[in-house]
């Protein structure tokens, strides 16, 4: 299957990409192409132009910035999974990346592409919410930083403006004592997309939860936080009873989607179950530290 014809551009800099983007009203950014190209081959997307950012060297690489780690938009899932600095300092991301698609998909698919596409069943959005990541974007008007909480707005919708490009993602280091993370996922057995997935970040002080973030993906039209679960845990000891009680609230208020794979009710059940699993894994890791 061939995509419909399009104009192809391969800019060498972000500035050049942005000016191409503003000159071509119906252009799409091509990163790894592992969401966009399948859509184009099925003719579900027929952009008039593709702006291939793969040759922009500034968009690659993982850098230690002190308290945070910066990941270029074109960092592949493979690079996230195998990054030494991430495994040491922000282990949630390698854990989540290892669950994405399959080997070949992880070799090509990119962090920035996944976030900009905002597939409701993608894995990274849950991790971004749990980590409180910041998405650094650049447009013709300049740069800005979008909190992960504000990025995902609807089905395949983000708060990116049409002429903006994700250039990097900034995540906090979570290796300090008392912090723990985990991801629990129920994958579709063929596509490996999340039928539901829950990422958690927990901070313990004096054996009590001083802060916690729970990111849920796959269940609703876009990834979002399970704030009722977070509120129920704050100030409590992270034990089995507290986890069980808080996890029951995870799908509360979430507009879960039903489809041929799973009904809305079943997805809600999965969200609660996976939240309990992720929190239990984080608890076990916290106490192992």
């Amino acid at each position: 299957m061939y995509p419909a014809p399009f104009e192809y551009y391969a800019p060498k800099s972000v500035g050049e990409a942005l000016s191409l983007l503003s000159q071509n009203a119906d252009a799409k950014i091509l990163a790894g192409g592992h969401s966009l190209l399948p859509l184009m081959k099925l003719r579900l997307a027929q952009p008039a132009a593709l702006i291939d950012i793969g040759k922009i060297t500034d968009l690659y690489g993982i850098s230690d910035m002190g308290n945070t780690i910066s990941l270029g938009a074109l960092t592949t899932h493979h690079d996230v999974e195998h990054s030494g600095v991430l495994r040491r300092e922000c282990p949630l991301l390698p854990e989540v990346a290892s669950h994405i698609g399959d080997r070949q998909v992880r070799n090509r698919g990119t962090l920035g592409g996944s976030l900009a596409h905002a597939d409701p069943a993608a894995d990274y959005p849950a991790a971004m919410l749990a980590l409180g990541a910041h998405i650094e974007v650049q447009g013709t008007g300049g740069k800005r930083s979008i909190s992960a909480d504000d990025l995902f707005t609807g089905l395949l919708q983000t708060s990116l403006n049409v002429n903006e490009l994700i250039v990097s993602v900034r995540v906090p280091k979570t290796n300090a004592k008392g912090q723990s993370v985990a991801y629990a996922k129920f994958p579709h057995p063929a596509s490996r997309y999340a039928i539901a997935g829950v990422a958690v970040w927990v901070k313990l002080e004096n054996d009590q939860v001083s802060d916690v973030r729970v990111g849920v993906t796959g269940a609703a039209d876009h990834a979002q936080r399970a704030k009722k679960t977070e509120d129920a845990l704050k100030g409590k000891a992270l034990n089995n009873d507290a986890i069980a009680a808080a996890a029951k609230l995870a799908a509360d208020g979430l507009k879960t989607l039903g489809d041929v794979y799973a009904s809305a009710d079943y997805r809600a059940h999965l969200v609660n179950t996976l939240t309990a699993q992720a929190l239990s894994a984080a608890q076990a890791r916290a106490h192992g530290m």
């Binding site: 061939y2 192809y8 192409g33 592992h34 399948p38 184009m40 399959d102 080997r103 998909v105 090509r108």
Partner: protein
């Protein structure tokens, strides 16, 4: 558009439309028909080749994205007339029935063994998740990859 890439050690050039996929250029322009097109939807892995030393599904890479890249296909695995240990192991362990998925399966396994030289059976199964065999021959495929790991 002109693209050039190093394919199995040889510099090759082609005049392509931007919408052409890498697999079409390999098969139809370069005559390397060992790489198969199976599902054509990035699921089955039959079109797997190595691009810059990484396994990719060549039905989901534009030829223009591979401009300047180094590509290895199943035809490029043999050295000095000798089969690659994975090719030999698939033969020895009967890691195929119809053979359609085999080139992609082997190329994915090359990538797997590069990153995990001595995978256990679970790691092998995880490593070839992106490749489907509709003859249900996974048992022998996994055994073949394990045998190749022993010999490499």
């Amino acid at each position: 558009m002109k693209v050039s890439m190093k394919v199995n050690g040889q510099l090759r050039e082609a005049d392509v439309e931007p919408r052409w996929l890498l697999v079409h250029v390999l098969r139809e322009k370069f005559g390397l028909t060992g790489t198969n097109v199976g599902c054509d939807t990035t699921q089955c892995g039959a079109c797997t080749v190595l691009m810059n030393d990484m396994a990719v599904k060549s039905c989901n890479v534009l030829a223009v994205q591979a401009d300047g890249a180094e590509i290895i296909t199943i035809e490029g695995l043999k050295t000095d007339g000798q089969y690659h240990p994975l090719q030999q192991a698939f033969w020895d362990e009967h890691g195929l029935q119809c053979g359609f998925c085999t080139p992609g399966m082997i190329m994915a396994a090359v990538d797997l063994l590069k990153h995990e030289a001595q995978p256990n059976y679970a790691q092998i199964r995880h490593g070839i998740e992106g490749n489907l065999c509709r003859c249900t021959g996974y048992e022998n495929i996994v055994r073949a990859i394990r045998q190749a790991a022993d010999k490499m």
